[in-house]
């Protein structure tokens, strides 16, 4: 079977496969590629321009195709991966030469925008996006100076992806670097579609509650981590940088903090730590003080709490648990909902938590205050995943 037919048979289920013939100099050349990845008219125009400038009109087909791209063997196995990568295949049937050309590709990536999951007040506000080369470009702009190294690994068998390992040569601890490199090399055959799979490759305990790596959407944070001697991993089509290792202070410290005056920086960080403590301690403390040891409280306060809990039918523990679950539900719902429906949940949640639950005597007034404080405090932490 001829190459043309076998290719057509291979791609017969794919609507975006094209196969056209054009004339380059004196040769009839077939152009093969995927319409969704290649901008065909522009690419043809560019090929025509390149060839029309050639003075030696008596060029052999092989020599001509070599000028335009990289020569490959005219076999199905060699051609198909190039097509899927988004390259254009030029095929001259008479001499049987074939080459893969880098075309003018269709833009399937959004442009650099501001971050959506993180906010910055005084820092640079460009964010990573899906295209890995753009990401490296942004990162390089942030880390000027020659010691930033970018290693590429192809991981995954069925749908291979490039995994980038980025570090500052002078800063990184060699032991950390070698262990990460070894783990990636050992886990090359595993797919990396999401962070859990990446965690598997890196040998992270999947049941751990504590995040073992930080993720950031902001190049400035990634660059800062590189400066600190950490390792940044990036996956193709994943608009976040994964920072290894994660330290406890990363929960409280941000690059953005350095843009404030020093006292404010320390105060803000202190507030975050206090927030974390409040968020963990207060609900438990409420239950303990209300149901077990009311004598710890000042008498007036104990009485007013007792008063507000007068008609509540169940123990403080159940009450707290109930409202905490409702709060988590609201948080989860407002994260998932599209922006157009988002306000609804805020309003409904506000009504439930604000007044209705109290007037219906389902929970006490004080608990609303306590839990609202808890939620606000828990949202102070710098990374959403640690909350």
């Amino acid at each position: 079977m001829e190459l043309k037919e076998s290719l057509a048979a291979y791609f017969k289920e794919n609507a975006d496969y094209f196969h056209v013939e054009i004339r380059l100099l004196q040769y009839e050349v077939q152009i093969i590629g995927l319409d969704s990845l290649v901008d065909l008219p522009q690419s043809i125009a560019s090929l025509q321009t390149q060839t029309s400038n050639l003075v030696h009109a008596s060029l052999q087909p092989a020599a001509l195709l070599k000028i335009l791209g990289k020569l490959i063997e005219p076999k199905l196995e060699a051609i198909v991966p190039e097509i899927i990568k988004g390259n254009l295949i030029l095929f001259e049937p008479k001499s049987g030469t074939c080459s893969a050309v880098l075309p003018i590709s269709k833009n399937v990536t959004r442009s650099v925008t501001s971050p959506e999951t993180e906010n910055t007040l005084y820092g640079a506000s460009s964010a990573f996006q899906e295209d890995i080369n753009t990401n490296i470009g942004i990162l390089r702009k942030h880390c000027s100076g020659g010691s930033m190294q970018v290693e590429t690994y192809k991981v995954g068998k069925n749908c291979p992806k490039s995994l980038l390992l980025i570090y500052h040569e002078n800063r990184v601890a060699p032991r950390l670097l070698h262990s990460v490199q070894a783990k990636i090399k050992a886990g090359r055959d595993q797919e990396v579609d999401h962070i859990q799979q990446l965690g598997n490759i890196l040998g992270v305990n999947p049941w751990s509650f504590v995040p073992n790596f930080n993720m950031t959407e902001m190049p400035q944070n990634a660059a800062h981590s590189l400066q600190q001697g950490k390792i940044v991993l990036m996956i193709d089509r994943y608009p976040f940088a994964i920072i290894l290792p994660s330290l406890i202070m990363d929960m409280f410290c941000l690059k953005d903090d350095y843009n404030y005056a020093l006292p404010f920086m320390y105060l803000i960080r202190f507030l975050r730590i206090v927030g974390a403590l409040i968020a963990t301690i207060i609900p438990g403390l409420y239950v303990a003080l209300v149901s077990v040891n009311p004598e710890v409280l000042r008498l007036q306060l104990a009485l007013s709490i007792a008063n507000s809990r007068q008609d509540v039918p169940y123990p403080a523990f159940v009450e707290t648990l109930l409202l905490l679950i409702v709060l988590e539900l609201i948080l989860e719902a407002s994260v998932r909902l599209p922006k157009s429906v988002g306000p609804t949940i805020t309003m409904v949640g506000g009504i439930i938590l604000g007044q209705a639950a109290v007037s219906a005597k389902l929970v006490s007034n004080l608990l609303i205050i306590v839990l609202a404080g808890t939620t606000i405090a828990s949202l102070r932490l710098s990374d959403f995943r640690t909350r």
Partner: protein
Amino acid sequence: MDKSGYQATILYVVCHMGLIFFLYPSDLFTAMDMGHWIGIGISYALHTAALYVYLKGLTWTAQKNVVDMFRSTGTFFTWLLLIPVFFYFGIAIIITLRAYSEMLTLVFLSSTPLWAIQLLLIGIAFLMAWQGMASMARTGVLLVILFSFPILFVLCLSFQNVDWYYLLPIIDREQTFHFLIKPDFLVSLFVYAGGFFFLGLLPPSIHISLKKMMLGCLLLLPMFLLSVYLPLLTFGQATAELYEFPMLMTIDTVNITWLLFDRITIFFLLSLMAFAMLYLGVTLWILLTLTKRAIPVIPNLYLLIVLTAGLFAISMAIPNWDFLKKLQGWIIPLRMYIFLIVPLITFIIGWRHKHKASRTTEVT
């Protein structure tokens, strides 16, 4: 990995803080009627000397742990020397477990059954010991950051009802040293005795700095004095010796009008309980390490489960407070052995090791 020696020092201070304020004052009040500072001074001096000698012996052998050091004297002697250590720490855990759960019941968990509190305490100790020394050392640092403030706050405020005349007479004319052989005084040495043995078992990743250790030891002196003198200055000897936990009673008397809370004892108690849990964890870890060296074939986790279950069962079997007091009296010889003899042996072995090393360098 801690090269500065802070972690070991903090662990040492935290373990002692967890012990000082609870059982120590009442024991000392029973043992002495006057001149308490003499008693504290003598025990503290012994403690410092023992700590110094122990650490000196350890540093001479350069990062070897106590078991290895003792092993150089022969297998039979190792067993002979370490079996009392094992028993002492086993009983120390049982006493601490039981006494602290009684105390918690007394102070604020009046309706919780005793076994539940004991189970909670030993459960947490189990988790700590399971995670190993490195994570316990880090926990120590975290606990200090979290709880130093409430402890200092309460300690400062508990001077509220102090009557300085109780300080007198500083030296009584009839002061004798008979108290030194009283069982109650020897029981009070509990807080001085076992809290530093773990330093000899630390993994090489946690360094010990002799200077920082001594500074940490110095930090403990005001704590020892406060734990006795705060109740003494508030109640006077005659009243203070009636209480089971004089320090807690002292803090109960504090009344702060501007604070949200009526009873600050609970914060003091809980902060120190966190320290005490670390002490339990460390002690359980000592037992685990010793057992592991004796029977290396059984995996750590099984050993730990067996140890924990055994200790819990024994501490449950103690019928009452009087029996606990008696138990404390029985282990006085063991305590003196841990307190004075073990550091001395360590010192001697370390000295011999150093001597041998310097002689071999001379020969070569």
